[in-house]
């Protein structure tokens, strides 16, 4: 049992550290507004430099511009980037989740056309899965894709929670191509240019007042036959690949929430707080949970490096992390008082951001269902949508609601 680098990993780390040392003065600031076009451009340029240095897309195959290394090296690169005090890649969703999905399911043409510009930040990508009526129950998407006379597709519907849509060039869209089969079967994944006719992007303001996410409206958006990823009717399986990579991406970014160091510093500076047993217990519980997540992350990495794919139990780390971050910000605000809620202060943004994060990637309740059923083997809740054509579902739901 050790947390040490192998000689090869140590060499990779030294190389990353040396490169970052040399180039850190070319990096943009770590934080900025997603509405600031200049900062976004600087982040794209920085992503290109990281990619050329082999510090982005570390796990991507070499033929697509990656390093062809393992997840531990990706984490090593992230650690060194964080240590250097510079931002990482801008397009976490593209490089972490959508690119790997294209590598797994895309055609040769799709891979050749899209992976390079994605990796180098020339084209940012976004993920259009969730809808107002399809969140945790993702297979309930209503966006319709109808085949046109020329063999292409026409998409109409509404997507939501779309990070980076305001400046993305492309996105993956999950849409329904057949409503007469059960909900998981009639889905197809498409590549959609964000500048296509009929695409409207609108910012979605959150509790903090900022608009990090977007709504995307599709109004008869025309796509070619070659926009389909992974085959017509196979959209659910393609989406699951993305969600598996999402678990990995969230799991490896786990130190970023809750800022335990700042919490500890804030409490340590307050003599009344640091001697108060309730404050100490709350702090002890928060720190303990975050330490557990960190070491479980190392365990997950060990398993990954041995070729094991993380299962749904990885979702427990997300539950722990988000709740610990909520408890951490709560504690800081209780100690600081109303001043903690001052808009430009360091706590107010997290206080506003965390309640929504509880539902990100599926609500905590649905995660617990999935883990209870898939990990503990508990029987599933009786489902009212199984084997029923999607087109009949809404009528049945209405009947169910009426009792």
């Amino acid at each position: 049992m050790d947390l040490d680098d192998t000689p090869e990993q140590a060499e990779f780390r030294a190389e990353a550290r040396a490169w970052l040392e040399q180039h850190r003065d070319q990096a943009p600031p770590r934080s900025g507004s997603h509405e600031d076009a200049q900062w976004i451009t600087a982040r794209r340029d920085w992503q290109r430099k990281l990619a050329e240095a082999g510090l982005a897309g570390v796990t991507w195959p070499e033929e697509f511009g990656g390093r062809g290394l393992g997840p531990i090296e990706q984490v090593t690169a992230n650690q060194e980037i964080s240590r250097a005090g510079v931002p990482g890649i801008l397009d976490v969703i593209g490089i972490g989740m959508l690119g790997p999905c294209l590598i797994a399911h895309g055609s040769e043409e799709q891979k050749t056309r899209h992976l390079g510009p994605m990796l180098h930040g020339d084209e940012v990508w976004c993920q259009m899965f969730s809808e107002p009526a399809a969140g945790s129950d993702l297979a309930a998407v209503r966006t319709r894709a109808r085949q046109t006379d020329g063999g292409g597709w026409s998409l109409t519907g509404q997507k939501v929670w779309t990070t980076n849509a305001q400046f993305a060039s492309y996105g993956l869209v999950l849409a329904r191509t057949d409503a007469d089969v059960s909900k998981h079967k009639g889905l197809t994944m498409f590549i959609m240019p964000m500048d296509a006719l009929g695409v409207t992007v609108r910012g979605l303001r959150q509790i903090s007042g900022e608009a990090e996410f977007n709504e995307v409206f599709l109004d008869d958006v025309e796509l070619g036959e070659d926009a389909v990823v992974g085959g017509v009717g196979n959209g659910w399986g393609t989406a699951l690949t993305v969600l598996m990579f999402e678990r990995l991406t969230i799991g490896f970014g786990s130190d970023s929430f809750g800022s335990p160091v700042r919490l500890a510093q804030t409490l340590a500076a307050d003599p009344d707080a640091r001697a108060d047993s309730e404050v100490r217990h709350r702090l002890g519980d928060v720190i303990t949970e975050l330490l557990a997540v960190r070491f479980n992350g190392y365990r997950a990495l060990t398993a990954l490096a041995r070729g094991q794919i993380p299962g749904p139990e990885a979702g427990l780390a997300k539950v722990t992390m988000v709740n610990a971050a909520v408890a951490a910000t709560d504690l800081a605000a209780d100690v600081i008082g109303p001043e903690a809620l001052e808009a430009s202060g360091e706590w107010s943004y997290l206080i506003s951001f965390l309640p929504g994060l509880k539902s990100a990637g599926g609500t905590e309740q649905v995660l617990r269902n999935t883990i209870g059923e898939r990990v503990l083997g508990l029987p599933s809740e009786p489902r009212l949508d199984k084997g029923i054509p999607f087109s009949e579902l809404r009528t049945r739901e209405a009947q169910g609601a009426a009792g």
Binding site: D285, R294, R368, G372
Partner: protein, 376 residues
Amino acid sequence: MNLALSDEQVLLRESARGMLGRRKTVEAARNALVDLQELPDLWPDMVAAGWPGLLISEDHGGAGLGAFEGMLIAEECGRVLASTPLLGLLPATAVLDAAGHESLPAIAAGEIRPVFVPARPPGDLDWRWTVDQRTGMGRAPAPHVTTDGDDVILNGSVAFVPDAEGADLLVVVGVDPDARPTAVVVSPGADGMEIEPVSRYDATRRLAHVTLDNVRGRRLELDDAPLVDAWYLTHALIAAESLGTVETCLERSVEYAKERFTFGRPIGSYQAIKHDLTEILRRLENARGLQYYAGWAREAAPDEFALAASAARSVAGQALDFATRTMINVHGGIGATWEHDAPLFFRRAQLSRRLLAGTRDATDRVAEQTLSTATP
């Protein structure tokens, strides 16, 4: 990075599970509530398995293994509520090994069973070395140590010491007149020594009140570090043992939730039950992560061991409390009767959380470690 168990560690765990599986330890835990004589004597099995020498260096006749291996064994004991004197034994051997004590080969061979009489190191709010007292919220000062020629004289008392009854040698942590911690080796038969066996609620946990009235012993030449380490080692072990018990509570509750039907459905299909069982799993996984942290820190980052062991005990202790209560709830009324094993696990949880300064004291120590490193 590699946090996987080695082949040797897997083997150690499996042989412990095999050995304990041949004894009806859970049944014994119930019978012992009526008659303590019903507890099987597992010492000969422990000796045969080499556990007494686990932490003793090879030079002194032991296996020279680490705290993590001790935790793997404690976890197996916890799974089946085995009544083994590990909590008293392993920290005692760690202290004696640091001092290179003459008894080590005999201990490793199982001829002598030592016990650790623990004292809690000072913290940021309490500068003293303290011990558990018989009742009340406060903490008693660690026994006083005064020098008398080559010997030392001990005065004081320590309540609820695990495994002290029947031990062949005691390693007592006391303080000298300058408030410096001192480890003293004492014979249980020494004049002025009283070891009063006590049993509280969980019959598998053998406890004793140790009273020292001008008791003569020999000082171990050690600095503070091994004594601080020994206190946190007891925490890491009780955490591992609790983790093992949580595993059993979860397995048995899940099994029942699949079999028991209400309103035409297995109760495990209801979210109310499913989410509680998932919560046990979440806490169990966190406790396991911290078990790795504690095991890693003691070898590779000793400065972090106090934090890691305290975190492990805090999470595992709270997990055990949650798991045993949930186990009773999932089983319904029968889970709260002697017909079922659930109360035995519940008894274990109730006593464990209050021993060795208590689970919440460990949480406080996590805060203390965090605050002290955050102070500018």
